[in-house]
């Protein structure tokens, strides 16, 4: 799965949580979206973990600031799982 394919799976999750009418890109960060508060942040983390069947490490979660960071983490997790 490449970055674009990973992001294509993350985007609908974002729409569910943050609603329509917002453009989501890998560069989108919490301050860009009004509804991206701490509650929705943990909802997003849990939903992405579930979608990709991964569990992020504590320090990985703390480091998340953009949607692209989720893509990085999925890539890293998938890479680790393959080895």
């Amino acid at each position: 799965m490449n970055r674009a394919e990973i992001f294509d799976k993350i985007e609908p999750i974002c729409r569910k949580i943050f609603g329509e009418g917002v453009e989501f890109t890998e560069k989108t960060k919490a301050t860009d979206i009004e509804k991206w508060d701490s509650m929705n942040h943990v909802t997003l983390i849990a939903a992405v973990e579930k979608e990709f069947a991964v569990t992020f490490d504590l320090m990985e979660i703390i480091g998340i600031t953009t949607l692209g960071d989720f893509v990085d983490l999925i890539e890293k997790n998938k890479l680790n799982a393959d080895h």
């Binding site: 943990v42 909802t43 849990a46 504590l58 979660i61 703390i62």
Partner: protein, 256 residues
Amino acid sequence: MNSLTDHIRNNLYAFYDCISELCGINTGKQMPWSVSVNIPGLWPRLIYRINSDMLAPMVSDNFTEWIKTGHAPELLIASDENIRQTDPFLRQQGFYPFAAWKGMAISNIMHHTPTALPDGIEIIRTQSSSDREDWLKIVNSELLAPLNMDKALLEGILSEPAFEAYILKNKGVGVSTILTFTTKDSMGLYLLATAQKEQKKGYAGMLVQYILDKYAYRSNNPIILHATQAGEPLYLKLGFLPINQFYLYRQLKADL
């Protein structure tokens, strides 16, 4: 002798305990965790003092039961002590980490040289009613706690000798605040806030420096504070060192 890590934790926990008691809240100190509910100006439904004691079988069962019976807190603060073990436990309970802050400390400040304040700047201990109103206005508008701190709570806090509130004024107008909390072996700095239009002008740094200068004459105990990533560079510049880390958790409410 306590380590700096102990000082940071102990000061924070004592700070919450003290304010919770002022609010008439039973913090549940008999438990290995403590709970505060609806502290205006701070956090609503907060659990703190989360550490490895939590993992003892009886304690973890008790906590799980407590959460199941509708006592879920909005926020939970876990120290980094054995966080690799407590994190999976908290996640099993439906709590997810979302942010972290660093506990920082400065010690051996006895030989500090006081710094002169620029023209027009004064820092005063808030005693008058109008200064306290200005102090509250800045704290409530900038710290974004879900509930505002009211005047009665501030009066209660400042009636305790452990607390002192300071305000920095530029040409007579309040721009920056801080609350100090002194225990027998450390001083904690809390509620450091600067009015939005006055930010990035160095006022917070001046205020912290003023406290360092003042405290250096009183004690050689360490001064501790809690820094977000954004605040860390300023505190490093002032001589604070990062010592430990705290993690903030929220309970997952919606399962997509």
